[in-house]
């Protein structure tokens, strides 16, 4: 059993487990001392240590303050591999490829929106299905789907489902060019044909929010954020298409590993050398999945705008994109390693890219606060990565047992938050009490220098699919 005593304190918010056994590098966890006690409650520390055994991992196996148990990698795990000598691992991305956040801003303030809030939330719910039932009723041809896999959100904007700013204010401008639809199985494509513009279930949500507090006036101004301003947040990913790509390639890599003499402590860490045939093919498929996710969030933004105009009229202020960022992805990036620039495959699983000056979007759990942060120079030790959310601490069953959906709706209503969801069970499962405290997680991120707080957002209405 690994204990807290095995960790060396680097500073108040960073702890290191030295390299032992199969590890290629040490493991480092960004948490406060109080949170360090918490992380031993599940297998996340063990997973962080296992990740350190992946071939070609550079410097450290890293974990962000919202670390919790995942598959293979912990959620909140960040690992950069040398692109020449290292591996790529589907477990380092997760099943929901490019699960991420998109944030839209308006020029309206809380008082402008309150009289229309119920109608707006209902209209958004109508326009954005979960995709678990009847869905969108639009089934794309494989040919049209391939265009989305290749060109992502850019393709949809070209087709009129958005504006240039949506692409400009998006990680990688809404698409990864190495994406290859040929690397995506027919199974994955079939799962994705009728899901562009659908929300999914679980912790995915849409929220009408207001800016409650500004911490950094200058950056807030740059991002176009002011107090009490109305924003809309989108949290979803690549849906069934991405889940299938992950399932397909974990199988491919498990079969390929003996060929490359790779033997690992956990099957979910399955990987292949980045430059191998299997590695390149996964990267091309994962990139296509990421493009699909950017297109999905773009399409949802389009339907939210439609609902917005339907309820508030055509002349109301526009909804413009602040940013769109992934928190489950592997990217080819250049970083300085021992003073020398190197090309790395940076895996961020439940972790958000936070390049200097870039808006970082961190959702809280249902009904709690969310944050806008900004990437800063001191984030270089984590390959400019930061946390991705609060992280669950209570099982879905325990959450359902603890509080009913109606009790949670009443509690949120007392706080002035409206909830739209067809499933009471869905509400109960996502009870705010089932998650870590987002304020505490973000405070550690801020103090550790991973990224800097810009604004705290609170929900006015929560919408959870059909």
């Amino acid at each position: 059993m690994i204990s807290k005593e095995a960790f060396k304190k680097i500073n108040d918010y960073l702890w290191e487990y030295r390299k032992t056994g199969q590890m290629n590098v040490p493991a480092r966890i960004y948490v406060s001392e109080k949170m360090l006690d918490e992380v031993f409650k599940d297998k996340s520390v063990e997973q962080s240590i296992n990740t350190a055994s992946l071939p070609g991992i550079v410097n450290y196996s890293l974990a962000m303050p919202d670390i919790h148990e995942g598959y293979g990698f912990p959620i909140g795990g960040v690992a950069a591999m040398d692109s020449e000598k290292g591996v790529i691992s589907p477990g380092g991305v997760g099943y929901d490829i490019n699960c991420g956040m998109k944030l839209l801003k308006s020029e309206l303030s809380e008082k402008d929106i309150l009289p229309y809030l119920d109608k707006l939330a209902a209209e958004i719910q109508k326009e954005v299905p979960s995709g678990l039932g009847k869905g969108r009723q639009i089934k794309l041809s494989i040919g049209n789907l391939d265009k989305i896999l290749k060109h992502g959100a850019k393709k949809l904007v070209e087709q009129g489902y958005g504006e240039e700013d949506d692409i400009k204010n998006c990680e990688s401008n809404g698409f990864i060019e190495q994406a290859d639809p040929e690397a995506v199985s027919l199974h994955a494509k079939n799962r994705g044909r009728d899901q562009v513009g659908t929300l999914g279930s679980g912790n995915h949500f849409l929220e009408v929010q207001k800016v409650e507090q500004i911490f950094d006036e200058e950056t807030a101004k740059k991002f176009g954020l002011i107090k009490n301003q109305v924003l809309i947040m989108i949290h979803t990913g690549s849906r069934g298409l991405g889940h299938q790509i992950a399932t397909d390639y974990i199988q491919v890599m498990m079969r390929a590993m003996p060929k490359y003499d790779i033997f690992l402590p956990d099957r979910e860490l399955a990987c292949a050398p980045f430059k191998s045939k299997e590695g390149q093919r996964y990267f091309a498929a994962m990139s296509a999945g990421a493009n699909y996710a950017w297109a999905n969030r773009q399409m949802i933004a389009h339907y939210i705008r439609k609902a917005w105009n339907e309820v508030l009229g055509q002349n109301v202020s526009k909804l413009t994109a602040i940013y769109d960022v992934a928190h489950n992805i592997a990217k080819l990036e250049k970083h300085k390693v021992n003073g020398e620039e190197k090309e790395l495959v940076v895996h961020r699983k439940g972790a958000t890219r936070a390049f200097v000056g870039q808006p970082v979007l961190i959702p809280g759990s249902m009904g709690t606060a969310s944050y806008v942060l900004v990437g800063i120079e001191s984030g270089k030790d984590s390959w400019y990565s930061t946390c991705h959310g609060a992280g669950r601490t209570m099982s879905r069953h325990a959450a359902i047992r603890a509080l009913s959906g109606q009790e949670i709706i009443n509690q949120l209503k007392a706080k002035g938050i409206l909830v739209k969801c067809y499933s009471m069970r869905g509400i109960a499962e996502e009870a705010p009490q089932a998650y870590k405290d987002i304020d505490e997680v973000v405070e550690v991120v801020h103090r550790a220098g991973l990224s800097k707080k810009v604004a705290r957002l609170v929900p006015l209405a929560v919408i959870k699919g059909e």
Binding site: Y95, G131, N190, S201, A246, T247, Q251, M254, R267, T393
Partner: protein, 135 residues
């Protein structure tokens, strides 16, 4: 027959099931039923059949690949399968006929069947497996 075919266990973020069976075939059928319990919706309609063929490199992988294939068929066709008749079954491959119904919607979206802590064991003549679904 095993006393219990499956049970749904607690997990902080996902869904874990424990499955039992007198034979490997029964273990696989019960795992499918356990997965359906998570996915299921109330409105069952037309009866349907689907053929399923899976090849894998060992029994653990076969179970994950089988459930992944059934999940795929369920989600793409909007169907839930309640039974399977195996025409072929070994540790590395299976072939069978799924029997089920079309449905209107799912109660839960299972993202994937994982290998996390997956173990197929034989205890006192009874097969047992624990499977975790990412949801």
């Amino acid at each position: 027959m095993a006393n219990k075919s499956y049970e749904i266990l607690d997990h902080p973020s996902d869904v874990r099931i424990r499955v039992f069976g007198d034979t490997k075939e029964e273990l696989f059928s019960n795992a499918m039923r356990g997965m359906n319990e998570v996915l299921k919706s109330v409105s069952l309609k037309k009866a349907v059949n689907q053929r399923v063929v899976v090849n894998s490199f060992d029994l653990n992988a076969l179970l994950v690949d089988f459930l992944s294939e059934v999940l795929y068929l369920s989600q793409v066709n909007k169907e839930i399968y309640t039974d399977i008749k195996f025409n072929k079954f070994s540790d590395k491959e299976l072939e069978g006929e799924l029997i089920g119904n079309t449905i209107e919607s799912f109660a839960e979206d299972i993202k994937a069947v994982t290998y996390h802590d997956l173990k197929i064991e034989k205890k006192d003549g009874l097969y047992e497996a624990t499977i975790l679904f990412d949801i």
